[in-house]
């Protein structure tokens, strides 16, 4: 199947997940928020559904492997130092900015939240600048 068709199908599944979580539990399917609520200091009181969601996320590739024979997880492109730096920036940025690609990008945009729409435009812009600088200015 063409990658773009798979991308739409994957997006639709993500959307169904977000609608289902709001319908059943009244929650935003934002991964950084779900993970953040498990972390110190002062973890959220409602940790069980957060852990369950993360368990579901991590189990998905195994399910996919059973169905199709391939978990479809690509290898990292960055070395360890870059992954440490990137991880810290993603953690700091999503905690400070109250969301990531899922919470702002899918759920917030669908709620027509002006905060989320602005956040998405900003992180796509700085992401593009970062890739331009690392690939075309510094990188080979």
């Amino acid at each position: 199947m063409h990658p773009f068709l798979l991308a739409v199908i994957g997006g639709v599944l993500i959307g169904i997940s977000a609608v289902l979580l709001m319908t059943l539990s009244g929650r935003i399917a934002g991964i950084s928020g779900i993970v953040g609520g498990l972390l110190p200091p002062a973890p959220a009181p409602d940790r069980s559904w957060r852990l369950a969601f993360i368990l579901g996320l991590v189990a998905a590739p195994a399910g996919l492997r059973v169905l199709t024979g391939d978990a479809l997880i690509g290898p990292p492109t960055a070395g360890i130092p870059a992954l440490v730096a990137a991880g810290l920036l993603v953690g700091i940025g999503t905690a400070l900015g109250s969301g990531c690609t899922s919470g702002h990008g899918i759920c917030g945009v669908s709620r027509l939240s002006s905060r989320s729409i602005v956040a998405v435009l900003v992180f796509i812009a700085t992401g593009m600048v970062t890739v331009f600088v690392t690939r075309h200015l510094i990188g080979a």
């Binding site: 993500i14 991964i31 969601f53 998905a60 990292p76 990137a86």
Partner: protein, 153 residues
């Protein structure tokens, strides 16, 4: 709510993970390809966002119960409405990390299933960054507020 909450979490987490894998978002090369407007641009992420937002927008507006969630007492939604400095600075910082590694939080957590040590390094660093901000901000500010009825989900 707890058992049903756990069931809802498992189901939706699994679906979300399937979507991320199928869509190519668990491949950092695909994500960085979308951000690489100066090179061989890969629009895959646009298709993911389009599919995801179309379904979520329609579902949020026409499917989600108006009074309260089926298995819960209230909707828990972001309290903030103003576009402020933490939002802008946070989004900008997140984007730099996203571009550097090609991972945002969802795909990174899903990719833990590959067992690659480097993915664990990323996720642990991400958790450290989140803890740092939560620790500096202190316990006072609640970012999410329960709402009895969704005025505007």
């Amino acid at each position: 709510m707890t058992v049903r909450g756990i069931l809802a979490g498992l189901m939706t987490g699994f679906l979300f993970g399937l979507g991320l894998c199928l869509s190519g978002m668990t491949s950092p090369a695909v994500v960085q390809g979308f951000l690489d407007i100066g090179g061989a641009w890969n629009p895959a992420l646009v298709f993911v966002m389009a599919g995801g937002v179309a379904v979520t927008f329609l579902g949020y507006h026409f499917l989600v119960p108006k009074s309260r969630p089926l298995w819960g007492s209230a909707y828990v939604l972001p309290a903030a409405t103003r576009i402020d400095t933490p939002l802008l600075a946070g989004a900008a910082i997140f984007g730099v990390g996203w571009g550097l590694a090609g991972y945002c939080p969802g795909p990174a957590v899903v990719s833990l299933a590959s067992g690659r040590p480097s993915v664990f390094v990323f996720v642990l660093s991400m958790a450290a960054g989140m803890i740092l901000v939560r620790w500096m901000r202190g316990p006072s500010r609640a970012s999410m507020a329960p709402r009895a009825a969704e005025d505007n989900i």
